[in-house]
Symmetry: C2
Subunit: 380 residues, 2 copies
């Protein structure tokens, strides 16, 4: 048994009660849960319940401050700079994106940037917030160093994802991706599943291709060690490594440079201080280009034409970005969400820690032989 | 003799006189030349004088209209939509970027989008215009179909570059790259140099890796043929193909969807109508985030820390984006620009066409054995 199926509602109840158990208000706990579980609904397992342990560790070691409130430290009609005061990333970010949406509706476009925050879940949650209101939503974030940039030996840059969403039918265009070949969370998932990672994903402390997820995660955790995940485009300029490195820089500049916050190169999540994670939230109202329905139709036609292209492999559809995720959400809302047994074990341990009865949430589960080491090793 | 060295001034005189010869005013000819030659100064040979033939062909077949003037068809304080009426891409784009800069200085940020234009040279010329005034500059463009998106058999998407520039010392951050592994122009350069392209760049009409530049260019030119250049991240999702495809989509949405223009998937440069190329110009004034000098210093420190990272190959520097280009410009302004002999042959032919004495511009050159076929085959 490698995974157990739970309903969305079961996982929601566990997460809400856990975050309330940590001291968040009911409303806050629901908000955090909504961000986390959208990742599971969308099939982005790296960023859903499998990340509960990360937040648990952050709260336990006081990197995440339960009572902190975001503060606007600089503001113009089109912009705001927010200090997160080391609060929970999801709460700061929902606040920041709401502000960006409000300003964009007033002025046409807006840019809200955040410093001193924590990991905020999937970037695409926030771009979706804007998209759900008929707007173009963009979000980027930095993170601790995990990425080896062109000709670097060490992991210096963060996963630095870029999310972009825009309304269309029948699915919005919803793009959310780390600027590395894969995000750190993907390695965590492979580690839990005891699967080797692809040759093209990471290098070890000697700069050699490494397919052992646990070893790469250890390289990343040890700030003095070389090795880490490759930027999109891989190792060499010939394959476009400098391009992935460039997108990573754009993501980072938009959040960390504009906010005056910590940059990912060993300043974010530095021992003995707050995480210092930075985020950006950019919103554009399509009405600044003309009739919004015409614009939406134009995008819908374009996306359909891409789906209808002649396929290299006839058996596999050509997807547009977000399509797989929306289809997955419909499916798992009906059928339940597969949770890896190692993640279930983490949830049991979290329940124990918070004095919650795990059987009530997860049923009787056999977690013997699970990778308990993850709990302590991957997030020290 | 594979190349001849010319001074910047020599090439400038040739280009200015050629564009004036086509019927542009002296001021327009100088503006177009300035865009073209920045590519040669920066060592981006794919987009400099080697592209003269493309503009020649465009003017000859009336895809580029000499007398067209850009027209603002929709406008708000933060935005404008411009119809280029099939004018010269560089002229329309300088006009559009100047408008975006003006608006951003007034309001804090601005977005100008363009439809019905032509190839505009390097995207980074326009982001640099904003950067030179202390602003963040972004530009994207679409192009004719050259890129094979994830699981597509045919080249459907354009090269769809994204350029981003922001002031820093001693070099700005200046990123400009196609969202494909390489741009079409790189294949043109390899074709002229009779060199095989890398295994990771392109596929032929059967979807197989192809290292013959001329064959891939023929696949691209034949709208009914499969094959083309791969998006950044290559062929498979495992290597991140969907990410390069996603950046390509973002580039395209920002220009073609916002402007209501032609999308790259066989609508741009469709036979029997104007090119229909679209561009976007986005400008953000860093003052909307606080003190601009502090922000610039923050970026400068970050870039220096990246350069100072431990190197995988100790013999090669770690560059930040734009650094190589600025260093190259200083060098070739002193030493001259190497022009491939096939490009020299194209220039001779261009001079002949315009009734200019090629010897006066280029000296006595032996162009026997050059790839004259390029002139007719690559841009039909």
């Amino acid at each position: 048994m490698n995974s157990i199926k739970y309903s969305y509602e079961q996982l929601k109840k566990l997460c809400c009660d856990a975050f309330a158990g940590f001291g968040f208000s009911q409303e806050e706990a629901e908000q955090i849960t909504d961000v986390l579980l959208l990742a599971d609904l969308y099939g982005i397992r790296s960023h859903g319940t499998q990340r509960l342990v990360r937040y648990h560790k952050g709260i336990e070691n006081d990197t995440i401050k339960i009572d902190a409130k975001p503060e606007i430290v600089f503001e113009t009609p089109v912009s705001a700079v927010i200090d997160g005061h080391s609060g929970m990333g999801q709460l700061i970010s929902v606040y920041a994106m709401k502000l960006a949406i409000k300003k964009a509706k007033e002025v046409g476009m807006a840019f809200v940037t955040v410093r001193n925050s924590n990991h905020y879940g999937i970037a695409g949650y926030y771009s979706k917030m804007a998209c759900d209101e008929g707007l173009i939503g963009i979000s980027t974030t930095n993170s601790e160093s995990i990425a080896v940039h062109t000709n670097s030996k060490q992991a210096i840059l963060g996963s630095n994802p870029i999310a972009f969403a825009m309304p269309a039918e029948p699915y919005p265009f919803w793009f959310d991706a780390a600027t590395t070949v894969v995000p750190r969370g993907r390695l965590e998932v492979y580690n839990k599943e005891n699967k080797p990672i692809a040759q093209s994903w990471a290098v070890d402390e000697e700069g050699k291709t490494c397919t052992d997820a646990e070893r790469v995660l250890e390289c990343i955790n040890d700030k003095n060690s070389a090795g880490g995940i490759l930027v999109l485009g891989g190792k060499t300029e010939q394959d476009g490594s400098h391009k992935g490195y460039g997108y990573s820089m754009i993501s980072e500049i938009l959040c960390a440079i504009t906010s005056g916050g910590s940059t990912s190169n060993h300043h974010v999540r530095k021992k003995g201080q707050g995480a210092g994670t930075c985020h950006s939230f950019i919103v554009i109202d399509p009405k600044i280009f003309g009739d919004t329905e015409t614009i939406k139709d134009h995008l819908s036609v374009f996306l359909q034409e891409l789906r209808d292209a002649e396929r290299a492999d006839g058996e596999i559809p050509i997807y547009t970005h977000g399509e797989k995720e929306f289809i997955n959400a419909e499916k798992v809302l009906k059928e339940g969400i597969d949770v890896n047994i190692n993640t279930v074990a983490e949830m049991v341990r979290l329940c124990d820690y918070l004095g919650m009865n795990s059987v009530e949430y997860l049923g009787e589960v056999d977690i013997s032989g699970t990778k308990q080491g993850n709990y302590d090793k991957v997030y020290k």
